[in-house]
Amino acid sequence: MQLSLGPVLYNWAPERWRDFYFRIADEAPVDVVSVGEIVCSKRSPFFAEHLPDVIERLQHAGKQVLLGSLILVSLRRERRQTEELCAGEGTLVEVNDLTCLKSIKGRPHAIGPFVNIYNETSAAFHVQQGAARICLPPELPISSAAVIAATVPEAVIEMFAFGRVPLAISARCYHARLHKLSKDNCRFVCEQDPDGLALKTLDQQDFLTINGVQTLSHACTNLIGEIDALRKAGIGSLRLSPQDCDMVEVAKTFRDVLDGRRSAEGASGRLSELYPGAAFANGFVRGQPGFSFA
């Protein structure tokens, strides 16, 4: 089974972002790395200057690099940026919105977790259009994933296995709204929260995480105890989504379990040490409310 690293979803400082990927390239036992700013097009210019170096370093280390597309494409500038991304040759694009399909259909590409593929006929349609890898929507139960994996054995089917779950995307920026700023003049306040901004209930119960125009879960997905079931379901890759913790060690921990060097129980304890204070969840994969953990 492959391990893949999803794109950084938060607004990290550009140098930190670059160094994160350099270390992933040098040390993390992941096979695939998806890079690029996919949440907010306003953030993209900050990472642009480092992107070629990051891609080169990752590829040199033997990682397959995917270029993630923007999740919500509205503005003319965003459409142009998406079209340019899809027109590029060489590096596989990870499609996060169907906007890409207009130009990329018929050519090999990957599909990210933001495209609605809930069943085998939709998966088969996308594979026919050129999808070689599909990361399924995080809310999909394993029973559905198994049917999809069996229907399109030619594609690598991936599940979201670690990290806060992206739950919603909006045209409205909640970071800007909270700071009483307009989206157009947001002063990039989201950079103050490299692991997202905590949203609690009025009872102070942890609930969600705000990341600009994106809303994520508070709980961190942890499918390390589900690896046997995921293997049996024909899942070919596990996605680790970067959080503000030691992702190299997180990847090593998953790799150890995949290779039989560590038990799932011990590994889950190790993940708790690596991401202190995180509440883990695996409800979606079990067809339960997403926040739950069994």
């Binding site: 207009k102 349609f125 779950v165 045209a171 307009s182």
Partner: protein
Amino acid sequence: MELICPAGTPAALRSAIDAGADAVYCGFNDETNARNFPGLNFSRDELRKGIAFAHSRGARILVAINTFPRASSVALWQRAVDDAVDAGADALIVADIGLMDYVARRHPNQRLHVSVQAAAANPDAIAFYVETFGARRVVLPRVLSVSEIAEITREAGCETEVFVFGGLCVMAEGRCSLSSYATGKSPNMQGVCSPASHVAYKETAQGTTSRLGGFTINRFAPQEAAGYPTLCKGRFSTEHGDGYIFEDPVSLDATTLLAGLRTAGVAALKIEGRQRGRAYIESVVRHFRRALDTLVDGCEADVGSLKPFTEGQASTVGAYRKTCGDRLRSAMNERSPDAT
């Protein structure tokens, strides 16, 4: 502009047409449609009769088959498509790409509309649906401004339809798992959002707490009316303050923007609310019929009479009149009465 009205029951369908709907949209009474509520929606026989009634009155019926089929049960959704076509539906409203592919192959002459749940928010995404499946109309998300709608309508190779009244999604529709995170039930999979089966109200000396799937969504002072705990319209807490972080409990009402939408080239106006009763249908449809008719005569539309039918008795033109400052309402200054 065509006026498209919701119907959750045969009686509502007739009321909508009597009140002046050009077309009515409805769904089958199962998980194939995005308003899968108990006691709501149409049997095969009811749909057939509804279509006959509508056609006899010169109105059209659009059938919403707009959830994402469950793996290994796709046949249930395909049968819904076949039955709707067979019953004489004027158009099918579909969200799932595999199901659109099925409609285009199996029923190439059937008029296909792209559901708002398919999240086609720009001309390129729309072009894909038009080129690949021959889609004739796209329902646009409620996150666009009128000028954005005009631009999309100019470039889209098909008709556009926009919501003018009812529930207001602030998250991109068809791409939201907030409800399933809290309850295990989602709009995409089960056709429900913040389902009543997971709602609880708790009375305390400080007032009423509304909960959804184990999370407090709002808290109301004793004299405050307790609203339904729709997840994205709850009051929450952050280090920057408490309040309606995502959206206030308001409904969309675009009555004052009809002229602009017409200039934008929009083909159809949609009223949300297949789950609502006949009183809502009659009043809201009549209101928009009158507004559209007076619009033709060059008069200002009559506004204000729809307050009882809005969430929290408050309405907004939503993103339609989007400018830099006006999205920043009072949300953050509003502290919950008994939050400490």
